[in-house]
Point group: C2
Chain length 211, copies 2
Amino acid sequence: MAEGEDIGVDRAVRAARRVVEGLVRHGAEGGADLDVVAEELESIADRLEAGCPPLADRVRAMWDTERLEMTRHDPVTGPENALAPPLHVQGRSDREVSGEVTLGLAHQGPPGHAHGGVTALLLDHLLGMANHWAGTAGMTMKLTLRYRRRTPLFVPLTVRARQTSVEGRRITTTGEICDPDGEVCVSAEGLFAALDVSGTSREAAQRLAAD
Amino acid sequence: MAEGEDIGVDRAVRAARRVVEGLVRHGAEGGADLDVVAEELESIADRLEAGCPPLADRVRAMWDTERLEMTRHDPVTGPENALAPPLHVQGRSDREVSGEVTLGLAHQGPPGHAHGGVTALLLDHLLGMANHWAGTAGMTMKLTLRYRRRTPLFVPLTVRARQTSVEGRRITTTGEICDPDGEVCVSAEGLFAALDVSGTSREAAQRLAAD
């Protein structure tokens, strides 16, 4: 699960992440000419929208991979998705997946700290990756998050997850986000229903493409 | 809790949302010149970063509002935050808050459907808004999400939340996301510890500003 190579869109997405964070940091009171920025962004959006492949083709291409644990488009790790902070994830030999991420002002909940929903997004995704990594993926049925202390912005956080049990179709997976001192900020427990995600994802993408 | 007026940065943020979605829709295979797009986005990011006020000033300005239930910068509803889909929320007379949102390909989890972590983000935020709206805000202690059916992309979803009990400092709040047919896709229950958020947020922003 190393990072993918830089294939064209990745550089634009990295710059778009800087724009998103830059806009939040800048706000209405900063020194840049926001009318010019808006016009330029609208021009870029126009060209991207004009250049898009048909949606069905794009969805099929997204899911046409053997490595469903590491999609390129998802909103947590995806190098093609500027919503992704991104979280950089690695599979570990002890059946755990582990990632590192630094959140910015765009991810703020309480002053100077991460939004609880953003940490939920990171954990939900990493629990799913842990299931893929362990070899039995599933659909989330229930996700429980416990907020133990505020999660800081602007410092490297560690996010970990591991599948703890598979009983019939019932998968249990846990994870946590830790601050740089190793203290757990948020922990998560997920209950999943096992499925053949590989087949299911491709079939679903094909159905969507056929609509 | 009507939408804020359009104060300069909002138009740029709306365009940035189109860029984020456009990049995911476009991918590496679309027809736009991605090197040019990347260069233009880098130029915009440079100017925004150069024009940013000092972080402490920006954080203080963000929280210097009487309307803490409706921040302008948050990653769910914020007109200054391109991460926000955005969810458009209104307070209702029956003590419920209710919002509408349409998710795009950038929010995809399973093929053609919303990421479970994105729906968790929306619900976490709206539960917090419901607490503000009800007059007793709190810190999230525990959040439980139940995924009942897949949440569709590209159609208007309804997100609702209401505070169901306050016992001492213990607040319970529930909410759900419904598809256009009114079927519940995801439901949430949050347990919060009551606090004087108004004072706390301002004080925290001031502490951060003093660092």
